[in-house]
Symmetry: C2
Subunit: 276 residues, 2 copies
DNA sequence: TAGTGGTCTAGACCACAAT
DNA sequence: TTGTGGTCTAGACCACTAC
């Protein structure tokens, strides 16, 4: 017989969650001072717990997570509730459902979603109608974070960061010049050789080599004129219009993990965006 | 007593749907030739029916639609199934749910979602920290569609279209030069006076004056150099880098209804985008 | 055949808004 | 108090995948 409702569900003992249980209410069950709107639906709390396991690395990118029924038993809720939690995580591209197989931790290594964050497309044809991007690492060095870089990466000025500069070309024509800044600690050991010896998306390498999964990003676009440096690397005249794309990418929990500044040539390509 | 499953639900007589009923299967129940994957879940079919009512104008932007239970009765399905259909329509920004009140047809007239499609933000501060955009209509004329415009709007070359050119300024400084092309038939009667006399978002005007609701759009961005014309209207030097934003906007059912080409000044503003 | 996600139902109760 | 959407449950059956 179903208990009325919220049966104050329990949770099987977890490493980092001694007892921690989804609480329907937050604080102040009586003290009516702050009109605490602190109420969170069960499925949201389940979502948080799953997210915590993802962060903790309990399931790695590409792994299959436990079935909906297993998770339901573990969290002591119904399958439908787990389902709704997973639904939202799948919508956020953190998990991928595959009917008949299971639910998997999303990864940048899949063929299907490669370059999910690269929005530069050829004006004619599809992304695949041109060959793969040719990559050339210009430099890769450790340095102390300038103030602005530190601010955006939530570091302190002077903390160690790694800077990478590279050029991407399509069919021999340079198209993108990128500068990346990565926090030194999580990316300790990253060298030019690591990058050069790798095929596939850089974010896939970050997952396998450093356990850092990029989950979302925000970009700020401007039109700028090429300076001498950029012009020379991209094979254009100084003053030529370029699309400047400044990206801040985040891992789980909205932790910033990469600052990237790209300069795109857009004579035969464009940045594509869907609005809804 | 619940019938096993799909109880082949019925539908109350509808104007444009004499009997048409959600069919679980499509064609060829026996002819095993094409491995027709034509199967559509009930909630998808309900979604289509609701969409049809939206297109037909049964409920207009801002209207409240019938409650979930009413729709469930009308379509002869359970409330949960209607719920899932509405969920998806709400995710697509076609409907807006308001707890305790009802579900409403989304509109561009709401304060909250104004300029939903305008992604140009000030580098410092928020969108609201600057005054509202000042609008100046440069011209508004009827003409025969050039080939490229016709193609994108799914018209025939030479069909009547309306072209609008305007400049948007912030605090006295011109920031955006836009050219719009609209199909002549749905927008019959649109004049410079109509546009000039109107406050509020242009897409809100389109809803109230022409019954055209823009649902989604796609944009292609490039960096370009200002020509003499644009330079003069935007108060910059020719050759100055500008962000070119070419937008194709759609109503219900993916029907293209507007082609727009904007040139954005990005010295103190940027185009913002979220990736996930 | 077994296991997974996907769909659908029916019913209970909660949260929010208007009356 | 009533009506709306929001949450949660329990159980049935379907569709896809693998063995």
């Amino acid at each position: 017989m179903p208990a009325p409702n919220p049966p104050t569900p329990g949770l099987t003992p977890e490493p980092s969650t001694p007892d921690g249980l989804p609480l329907a209410e937050a604080a102040s069950p009586e003290a009516g001072l702050p009109p605490t709107p602190a109420f969170s639906p069960l499925y949201q709390q389940i979502k948080t717990l799953i997210l915590r396991s993802l962060q903790a690395g309990e399931w790695k990118p590409g792994d299959m997570i436990p079935s909906e029924f297993e998770l339901a038993a573990r969290f002591r809720v119904s399958q439908g509730t787990v389902r709704k939690a997973i639904d939202e995580l799948a919508t956020d591209n953190l998990l991928v459902r595959r009917q008949g197989k299971g639910t998997f931790v999303a990864t940048h290594a899949e063929q299907h979603v490669q370059f999910r964050f690269l929005r530069l497309l050829p004006d004619a044809g599809t992304r695949d109608s041109q060959g793969p991007a040719e990559r050339r690492i210009i430099e890769c060095r450790r340095l102390r974070a300038p103030a602005e870089v530190a601010r955006q990466l939530s570091l302190r000025t002077g903390d160690a960061v790694i800077q990478v500069r590279r050029v991407l070309a399509f069919e021999g024509t340079p198209a993108i010049l990128e500068d990346l800044w990565l926090p030194g600690t999580p990316f300790k050991g990253l060298t030019q050789e690591t990058l050069a010896g790798d095929m596939g998306p850089m974010y896939a390498l970050f997952e396998t080599a450093f356990g850092v999964r990029m989950v979302r990003a925000q970009e700020k676009l401007k039109a700028v004129a090429a300076d001498a440096d950029a012009a020379s690397l991209l094979g254009i005249q100084p003053g030529h219009p370029l699309l400047s794309v400044e990206r801040l990418a985040f891992t789980y929990n909205d932790v910033p993990m990469e600052l990237r500044r790209g300069l795109y040539r857009t004579e035969t390509r464009h940045y594509f965006n869907e609005l809804s």
